[in-house]
């Protein structure tokens, strides 16, 4: 199962693209209640949003972004059948990417 979900909706003036990503976005300052140990920092640092292969947004983020991050964008003009993709990489070098076809 991908860590990324993408949904899109075409309106007259724009196409709304929303993404939800399964990621702990752990700050590194929280303690494990059971063991008392610090939970290591584990958070997405970079994210790329593409439309038909072209980068429309690149994001640098810190652990201030919420767990299970959500982002939404509006593409000025997109058509049914266009591809969008979301890719992320985190501080532990894990990454994931997902492509979505606009219905």
């Amino acid at each position: 199962m991908s860590t990324i979900k993408i949904r899109s909706k075409r309106f007259a003036a724009y196409t709304l693209v929303r993404t939800l990503i399964a990621h702990p976005m752990e700050t590194g300052h929280n303690k494990n209640d059971a063991t008392g140990e610090l939970i290591p920092a584990h958070f997405i640092q970079t994210l790329t949003f593409k439309h038909n292969g072209k980068v429309l947004s690149q994001c640098q983020m810190g652990y201030g972004v919420s767990k299970n991050p959500f982002f939404s964008f509006k593409i000025k003009s997109a058509k049914a059948g266009d591809k969008v993709s979301i890719s992320w990489q985190d501080n532990l070098a894990y990454s994931d990417t997902l492509e979505h076809i606009i219905p």
Binding site: R18, N68, F70
Partner: protein
Amino acid sequence: MKSPFLIFYLFINLIISSSLTWASPEQDRKQILTFYQQIFPELQLAGYAHGVYAIDADAKNSWQAIEEFPPYEFALEEGKELFNRPFNNGARYADCFPNKGIAIAQNYPYWGEQKQTIITLAGAINDCRLQNQASALPYAKGEITKLLAYMAFTSRGQLINTIIPEHSQQALNAYKQGKDYFYQRRGQLNFSCASCHVDNAGKFIRSEILSPALGHTTHWPAYRLNTGEMGTLHRRFMACNKLIRAPIDMAQSPALRQLEFFLSYMANGLPLNGPSTRK
């Protein structure tokens, strides 16, 4: 403008009747509905399914923004997969439930004649597992919340249908025990469920608005923002008891199943809307 005297009168009425053993469940339900309608005159019955979001506009906007793409989507997706995965012996959850387990959550909890106890959906899931040589799942969080999320999702919009069989004195007793639990003060803070969710529904406790008890069972399991995890109704009951510094009854214990039975009966006719997100 609602009269404080009228509300006081209705509340006293509610408290008195809660201690009278011969008020019927239907009378209880109508009485509590009348009580809440006085406090929240603009709120339609179905609106109670949204809990505090029906009475706190700022929180509702925030909640709706999150519901645009809710964090429980992952649990829901996994839940569907888990639900459809066969047990080692080849049987499936669908074989244990009416209608193959789809759109049935509104009929839980129910009085189980054979076992002479209240059957909740979570309990029924584990019954199914045990019947098929799979181990029981913990009741507060984890895998069971994913299965519950999927079953709640297929039941969205179904109206709560809690039945107390007429011929069963035991079922009625179980209902009454649930009702007593709801109105019973306990713990260091000497609160009952009613202290907050009836007497002070719509008022602030520190910085938060207290939700009415009506509709408490509609939106579970819930993705809790404060834990970043899915949790069950019973997990919330446990947390509530902990917060009022009362002894904690365990998830799916008889006391909490009776409480759920009572609350669910009070919410008869409300639409289910789980899984959901809560703070």
